[in-house]
Every structure is written in C-alpha cells, then in structure tokens.
C-alpha cells in the first residue's frame, strides 16, 4: 500500500472538487468563473485520481473513447445552440429568441448556460485527453527517477 495518505486525501477531495466544478460551471453568470474554469477543475479531479491510483484505474472510470466523443459533443453543443437560435428565427447565437416574451432576458440566461455547458464539456474532455495521451506513453517511473 504505497502513498496511503495521498490516496485517502484524494478520495476525500474527489467529490468536493467535482461539486466545486459544477458550482463554477452553473454560477458563471453570477460570479467569477464559467465553462473554461469549470472544465479545467473537473479535469483536475480525474488527473488527481490518475496520479494517486494510476492511469489504468482512471481509464476504467472514463475511457479515452468517451473523452474523444465528449470533445466533439462539447463543440457541437455550443454550435448547436447557435443553430437552434437560427431555427427559432433569430441570428446565430442570438439568445433572445429562446424566450422572446421574457421581460428580463431569460433567453440570454438560457443561452449563456447552454453555451457554457458546451465549453465546459469540451475543455474538460480535451484536457483529460491530452493528459491521458501524454502520461499513457511511458510506463510507471521509479520513485528515485524524479
């Protein structure tokens, strides 16, 4: 049982990091943050997991194929929001078309949340893909090799 303290700490921290990422994701229009930061924080939770338990274990949680699909889904979600507003009769990414009768620009809120979700998914999966591919190339290194 190597690095017991690190493993226990990671297990305790893992869920709060993801909750914080979701908070940053959905609270971006009220406080600092948004999709980019949330995506990175979300990815960091899994990178921490990979550091402590090894990449093989993390790959069982999220396989690389799922990440590559998520990368595409994120970008398509963002662009799809723009296409949806066009189909509703507005401009590309003209969010006011989502709720045209709203007096307090609810459409803008919806649009920003949808778009930021696309950003978050794309950033998180891209960061994890890059991490997977960089670390997956070399077998485990020795403790003294640092």
């Amino acid at each position: 049982m190597q690095h017991l303290i690190l493993k226990v700490t990671t297990k305790i921290l893992f869920a709060p990091i993801i909750v914080f990422a979701l908070y940053v994701q959905f609270h971006g229009d009220y406080g600092p943050g948004g999709g980019f930061q949330a995506g990175v924080i979300f990815a960091v939770a899994f990178i921490l997991h990979a550091f402590c338990f090894g990449l093989e274990q993390t790959r069982k949680v999220i396989p690389l194929k799922a990440l590559i699909i998520a990368m595409v889904v994120g970008v398509m979600f963002y662009a799809g929001t723009g296409v949806a507003t066009m189909l509703l009769g507005g401009n590309f990414l003209g969010y006011d078309q989502i709720a045209p009768e709203s007096t307090h620009h609810a459409g803008q809120h919806y649009g920003i949340i949808l778009v930021e979700w696309g950003v978050g998914v794309a950033v998180a999966s891209t960061m994890m893909t890059i991490f997977y591919l960089f670390t997956g190339r070399e077998p485990d290194i020795d403790q003294e090799d640092w």
Partner: protein, 199 residues
C-alpha cells in the same frame, strides 16, 4: 498624465510590490535552474503568484483562470511532458549569449520606456476603459441582465469569439490525438515503423 485622477500610496501598493518582487525572483530562479522538475514546479508557483496579482488588480475572472489553467493543468501537463524526456536540461553553449542578452535588454528597455506613456491603472479615461468597456458596463444590465459582465461579454456579446476559442481548444486536443496516437504503448493498436515504407 490625465487630470482629475491620482494614485494614492496604500497598503495595496505594498502587496502589489511584494507580489511583483516574488514574481521576479521566481522568474530568475527558473532561468538559473537546470533541473526540469524544479522549473515546472516554479512555473506553477509563478502562475499562482500572478493569479494573486490579478486579484489585486480586481480581475477575479482572469485570476481564476490563471489559477486553474496556469497553476493547475499546465503544471500537470508539463510534468506529463517531462516524463517523455530527460530530467535535466542540457548545458548550453555560451557563444551566442551576448547577442541574445543584448536583444533581451533592448526589448526590455523599450517596453519600460513605453510604460511611461501608459495611462494610470484604473484611469476611467484610458482608451481600454473609455469606449467599448464603458458601453458594456452601461448596456449589460439592459441587454443581458446578467450580474457578471465578464460572462455577458464572453458568452453573449462575443459568443462567436468564444465559439472560436472552444474550437481552438478542440483542435489542440485533436492535434495531440493525431501526434501521440490513440494506439499508444498501453493497449490499442501497435504501430511499427518498418512496415510503413512505400505505402
């Protein structure tokens, strides 16, 4: 040089100065170190310090990004990249150094000279704050009604730019997939260089 605005000496200034001094010290330490692991860790510290400096400049969103991306993920990716190479930087030949040093000092001096003409920090009449910035601050409550103006600019006013940024991130991931390959050392398709000739 603008009228009606003066910068008061406050405790904040001391915080700023100490943060900038630490940034300088960390940067010099990074330059001098040949141990790549130490350089990666110092670059993480550098990012964290600049995040603190951005907070003191009231740019919380930028600070947040710098802390998450610069100090967090970049450090991890640099460590992962370091695993693929040697742990120590090769000693460099010092023949070309005087020219390089001269160029660096000349550029630095030019930049320092240019700061004399810059408007004071937070000057409302500065070009960066006066035209578009002011319009965003005035129009956001009526146009978007989102409390965080940064998000309103990023996701709504400049939603098209942000789409481009997401595609840049996506392309970076795609490039890494193409270069390092999904079929890597651990599992996946094995690639041999010998058979690839002629095809």
């Amino acid at each position: 040089m603008t009228e009606g605005y003066s910068y008061e000496v406050s405790p904040i200034l001391l915080v700023d100065l100490s943060l900038l001094t630490m940034l300088l010290v960390v940067a010099l330490a990074m330059l001098r170190s040949r141990h790549l692991f130490a350089v990666v860790m110092l670059s993480g510290i550098y990012s964290l310090l600049s995040a603190a400096f951005f907070v003191s400049l009231d740019a919380v969103d930028v600070a947040f990004t710098e802390a998450a991306v610069g100090a967090g993920v970049s450090t991890v990716l640099m460590l992962a990249g370091m695993l693929l190479t040697a742990r120590r930087e090769k000693p460099f030949e010092s023949r070309r150094v005087p020219i390089a040093r001269l160029a660096v000092f000349a550029t630095g001096a030019a930049l320092l000279y240019a700061t004399i003409d810059m408007p004071a920090f937070g000057d409302p009449n500065a070009p960066a704050n006066a035209y578009v910035g002011q319009a965003y601050i005035e129009e956001t409550p009526g146009d978007i009604s989102v409390p965080n103006i940064v998000t309103a600019v990023l996701a709504s006013y400049r939603g098209f730019d942000t789409l481009g940024e997401v595609i840049v991130v996506f392309t970076a991931g795609l490039a890494v997939i193409l270069l390092l390959g999904v079929g890597s050392a651990r599992g996946g398709r094995e690639v041999s260089d010998v058979d690839g000739e002629g095809s």
